[in-house]
Amino acid sequence: MSEKTQNTAVDEAAGATAETGGRAPSRRALLGWGGAGLALGAVAAGGAVAAVRTESDAVPAADSGAAVPFHGPHQAGIATAVQDRLHFAAFDVTTKDRAELIALLKEWTRAAERMTAGHAVGDGAYGGLAQAPPDDTGEALGLKPSRLTLTIGFGPSLFAKGRFGLEDRRPESLVDLPKFPGDNLDTARSGGDLCVQACADDPQVAVHAIRNLARIGMGRTAIRWSQLGFGKTSSTTPDAQTPRNMMGFKDGTRNISGTDTAALDKHVWVGEKDKAGWMTGGSYLVARRIRMHIETWDRAPLQEQEDVFGRDKGEGAPVGKSKERDEPFLKAMLPTAHVRLAHPDSNDGATILRRGYSFTDGTDGLGRLDAGLFFLAYQRDVRKAFIPLQRRLAAHDALNQYIQHVGSAHFAVPPGVRDKDDWWGRALFS
């Protein structure tokens, strides 16, 4: 990704805010926080952001391999400056015992605290009993924290009647997603009682985190599906260059900034006014595995490609404009243009915070690249954000001939872990 950014594509849709980009930014600016003001903003946003700089000559978090604070009013990994790599896992809870589930969440929280700080799990990866397997799997030894964030979510199925006595606690907003036209969902890549999103600048750090949580969970949870991602497809750092998606287009020009507390409060965090009880301070996550028909896309004429998006490929400028960040004139775009359909102005202002990643899982046996966008979007209520937006896109988006949604999940992402005594989901279970 050297000099350019990469990014998300398919989601310009969601009305994102922009990342700027423009002029040959350095890799550093790309990956980390661009300026001191951002770091301040981050703190203001609730500690969910890289705690980066201590000196006047700010060191971007990505380069420093810094640790992102785990504790705070909101979970890290949402407004946090988007890291380069992802390992996302959805789990089935296999135990029927509520106490065991709670014990697991506590153990996970303690492990997450350690791993996000760059420490090994438990008693570490070596030095213990020779006859016993070590607590930590060890592949992250010697690596920096790499801005690892771990973010947990609870799926609708966790609240099912007769499971853990949570049926009355299921948030109204945690709806079962409707079937959208064109969906070709694989149940083996959809749903899940729990999810953990691991983001880090080093893929090994992200994989290590999920692997260790999965191991701790065995007997109580089992991985249902997981997804690796690279090349963030939208960022929450508007000063950085906008990344590009696998279709080669800049993605996330208007994504919500991780420092824009007003926008976050309005569109992302569940607020007091929502009367959502234990979910106050949390958010709702939609995860969609969007397969791209890469080969046919690559054969599409440039004009068609640009028409499909409603932006030009090189600069990312909206139709009829010259700069990426110029305000788009939606009516100049085709009615089926992705950006036009996804823009907040076409959706009563609906806005989501995207932090999706590109993926490629090799080829599919027919020699086709199994690649696309692993779409992750956070919002305050999917009924007002993702669902109407996706309905519109599924029905009209010109991009649909080049993509297919093959996996889908929806999670209630609880508020942050306050301190060393708090744990993921405490408010839900108490």
Partner: protein, 378 residues
């Protein structure tokens, strides 16, 4: 079949050493000065001393009884350190062994039957890992179990190999899975003899260049895939029986420790996780669930024997293990109509989602089981 477990190297070395030494000893005629004099009678096993220095030990045996006898030197867990069979009345024999410090039993077995007459001796000097009496008890009981499994397997193996040799496909198919059960229950011990496992339990894809494929799975393929027994298969049947006989004879000499028992239990689950859950083990007969059950039973046996020790050190762990064993067994029971039989659903009929459920249950048990060794040695 997996790589070697337990300390094969040690076990193999011990066997080699004993063999070599025994060879010398026969020449020495039992006249060594430092020898432990053993006088075997019909009702006694008299020793000239009860304390010996570690290292090269020689036993000069005199059979003063009226019956043919045999004499063993046994580790506290009943593993054979050295032995000599067929010592006729009025004759002498010498037994030698390399022994480390610790307690041993010298056993005379007049008539070569029964438990024999035991005398405890102490070997001092050098250093050995301390083992508590309850650990020795666990190991000794497990050794008995392992031997019993081998002993019970042989008649079934005979039935199987006889059927194959006679060209009776149906009879052979019927007894095939059952003939493997004892082996599956004690696989890690069997595999500690690096040479037996590749002869009896190798799958076709495990063959090295130029290696001849023998054993159960070779015959499995003939029975279920080729659906015929040619001259070659018929000739391989007695070879399998002979190799299993070798296992039965040697299994008592395997090196077994409390930690190898604990890790052996986990390894049995590993066998399930890598071979049975995928359906690779019994790819022609699809009898994987029977092997699966055998592996779990063997693991459970090790665990039950170690539990008194482990529960003192880590009660939470043993509580979890009790629960997970029960859960896995309950899940397995879904695949058989009669809980007293080993007739399980053919694995090809077990769907993808059910296989995942089985796999998750195996992980659920194997993960805490991997902590058993630590709980035992704590």
């Amino acid at each position: 079949m997996r790589a070697v477990r337990f300390s094969v190297a040690t076990a193999a070395a011990t066997v080699a050493a004993l063999t070599a030494v025994t060879g010398c000893a026969q020449k020495s005629d039992g006249k060594g000065d430092g020898a432990l004099q053993v006088v075997a009678k019909d009702d006694a096993c008299e020793l000239s001393k009860k304390k010996l220095p570690a290292g090269h030990v020689e036993l000069a045996v005199q059979n003063k009884g009226s019956k043919v006898t045999e004499v063993y030197v046994l580790f506290p867990d009943d593993r054979i350190a050295a032995e000599r069979e067929n010592i006729g009345p009025g004759t002498k024999a010498t037994i030698t062994a390399e022994v480390k410090a610790g307690s041993y039993n010298v056993v005379c077995k007049p008539g070569m039957k029964g438990e024999g007459i035991r005398q405890q001796i102490e070997v001092t000097g050098g250093s050995v890992a301390k083992r508590s009496p309850e650990m020795d008890k666990a190991v000794a009981e497990y050794r008995t179990y392992v031997q019993a499994q081998a002993d019970e397997t042989l008649p079934k193996a005979k039935k199987f190999t006889d059927a194959v040799a006679a060209g009776d496909i149906e009879a052979a198919k019927k007894i095939y899975a059952d003939s493997r059960l004892g082996w599956e229950r004690t696989e890690p011990v069997a595999e500690s003899f690096g040479d037996i496992d590749p002869k009896v339990d190798l799958r076709e894809d495990g063959l090295e260049d130029g290696q001849k494929w023998t054993g159960w799975h070779r015959l499995e393929k003939a029975l279920w895939h080729d659906k015929k027994l040619g001259a070659e298969e018929k000739a391989l049947a007695p070879v399998l029986y002979k190799d299993l006989l070798d296992w039965q004879k040697r299994v008592g000499t395997a090196e077994i420790t409390p930690t190898s028992m604990a890790n052996g239990a986990k390894e049995l689950l590993d066998e399930v996780a890598t071979g049975k859950v995928t359906g690779e083990e019994e790819r022609y007969s699809h009898t994987d669930l029977i092997d699966f059950k055998g592996n779990v039973e063997g693991a459970e046996k090790s665990y039950e024997l170690l539990k008194p020790i482990a529960s003192k050190n880590d009660a939470a762990l043993t509580a979890t293990l009790d629960k997970r064993f029960a859960e896995l067994n309950t899940l397995l029971d879904k695949y058989r109509k009669d809980k007293s039989s080993y007739e399980f659903t053919s694995y090809e009929k077990v769907g993808k989602a059910d296989r995942k459920e089985l796999s998750d249950a195996v992980n659920a048990l194997a993960e805490p089981l991997s902590k058993l060794a630590a709980a035992v040695t704590k």
